[in-house]
């Protein structure tokens, strides 16, 4: 058993990828909790897709791809905010427009530079955790430390703001600054996670652990702590699964995380589908309406 756990660790690349996976897991669970409680899960998806052109440009001019991705991510949130405050377009539509445009631009740029540079579009889309270097590990450690320290320092202000933005504003908190700061933290987190799961699956790391924890505990900081714990377990076991069964690492992590959610969804003491069967009858009214449309049901009336 111990041999099974230790064997992958003799490889340098496995050590590096495990460190990064654990750090990213913690980071995503904590920051993703804010996305979830603000009903902004789509924003996580939007930012992660929007970093693509930044990645591509940074790659082409041989700059730090973390910085390129970060700039593109922040730019996209500013654009989304501009569209939805300066026009009658709603926020979710603004996100859809901006992130698909950025994503399309990113794909185009990568396809163009693919011919001269040796880059693989798949690595951007699905991550390449086995290819992380020690400098990537250091970048991840720095980003994780910055984000976690900031969240610990302004936890009570962020909690007030995310629960009751108008109340927080009325109490004199700088809500626009808090909102922008939160967007920066989210963008940093997504940038740090790209190596692990790539653009497409980042959202899973952001919302799934937090959502799982939300079904089990009732306070924001417990949600973050339990979410981080679940996330670390998912990351590590996903990596081992990928090592022993030769599975793609990012998807393996996401699938483990999703199975934790499934268990909580079914068996949560407060909200579980099976532990509270009466709340699990969402399909019954639909079925009744479908039955009402059937011809022999109608003729009976």
């Amino acid at each position: 058993m111990l041999q099974l756990l230790l064997e992958p660790l003799q490889y340098d690349f496995m050590q590096r990828s495990l460190i990064v996976a654990v750090l990213v897991g913690i980071l995503c669970a904590v920051v993703g909790s804010y996305l979830m409680v603000q009903r902004l899960a789509l924003l996580g998806d939007a930012i992660s897709h929007s970093v693509m052109p930044g990645l591509a440009i940074a790659f082409a001019i041989e700059a730090n791809i973390f910085i390129g991705a970060f700039i593109a991510g922040v730019l996209s949130t500013l654009l989304i905010a501009l569209i939805h405050t300066r026009s009658p377009i709603k926020e979710d539509t603004a996100m859809g427009i901006v992130f698909s445009a950025f994503f399309a631009l990113g794909i185009t740029l990568i396809t163009v530079i693919q011919k001269t540079n040796k880059v693989d579009l798949n690595h951007f889309l699905f991550g390449n955790i086995l290819g992380v270097s020690w400098s990537d590990v250091i970048s991840t450690v720095v980003i994780a430390a910055i984000v976690v320290v900031i969240i610990v320092l302004i936890f009570k202000e962020l909690q007030f703001y995310t629960f009751d933005p108008v109340g927080a504003q009325a109490a004199g908190l700088p809500v626009n600054l808090l909102n922008f700061g939160l967007m920066i933290l989210i963008a940093l987190t997504i940038v740090a996670s790209l190596k692990v799961v790539g653009v497409i699956l980042v959202l899973a790391l952001l919302v799934t652990p937090g959502a799982t924890a939300y079904l089990l505990v009732t306070r924001l900081h417990w949600m973050m702590i339990l979410g981080a714990l679940l996330s670390v377990i998912s990351s590590v076991s996903g990596m081992y699964l990928s090592y022993y069964f030769n599975l793609p690492s990012g998807p393996a992590v996401v699938l483990v995380s999703a199975s934790f959610f499934t268990v909580a969804f079914l068996f949560s003491p407060q909200h579980g589908l099976l532990t509270h069967p009466q709340s699990g009858s969402a399909l019954t009214p639909l079925w009744r309406e479908v039955k009402g449309l059937l011809p022999w049901q109608r003729s009976r009336r």
């Binding site: 409680v37 009570k156 995310t162 629960f163 108008v166 109340g167 009325a170 109490a171 004199g172 924001l220």
Partner: protein
Amino acid sequence: MTAMNPQFPFPAVSLCQPGGVKQVAQSLIQPKVTVSQLTVHYRMVQALQNVSLTIQPGRLTGIIGPNGAGKSTMLKAMLGLVPVMQGDVIYGDHPLADQLDRVAYVPQRSQIDWTYPATVWDVVMMGRVRKAGWFRRFSNVSRQVALSALDRVGMSEFRDRPIGQLSGGQQQRVFLARALAEEADIFCLDEPLTGIDQKTETVIFDILRELAQAEKTVIVVNHDLGEAITHFDDLILLNRELIACGDRQSVLRPENMHKGYGGMVNFFSTMAA
């Protein structure tokens, strides 16, 4: 009328601000809120036009008017929570929007996501965030203040209850406790009487009356014109502009109510007497 509790809710904490006796003496002559020419537009629609009035401390002031009259907008515009086209709101010598640390605001219950992962205690402690200051943990004083606020609204036994498991009235009392914990001079409540039980209504008016007696400014947006309206000393009647303001009796005169509600509340004229 509500049974009045002669005791002030938190003598120990509310009057014992740093500065001692001088501060206490000052707090007995509270300034009034002066609104002049307040105009608010939402995109193309005019929400409030040229509202000018004063709001006195030490009195319960209600903002009334039909749906869409701009009652909540008025409250939010006074605090600078929505963009204002023109006009000033002065408290003492400065704009009220620059003194939000002296304001406690209770939003409409429907604006809040009650599935948020927080307990009653978490919400009440939000009232101490500003006082605690940036990068700091809550002090013991803050905990004491929050505890007595929770006690005052009769919710201390629900301290650890998730907010989603409370009734509407209990949620409203938690928000009132949060406002009390802010130890403010101006209390602004947006439709606190919507969808609550009789007990909560009594608790709310007891506390608001005590606050007024302590020379606080108390402003309440009130949707319905039921019996609850008799609790207010002063009323502000809005319908996208100021129809009438002043003491309750004078505002509730039939000609004002006609103008404000467009003749829909004829029956109401009896109430004014």
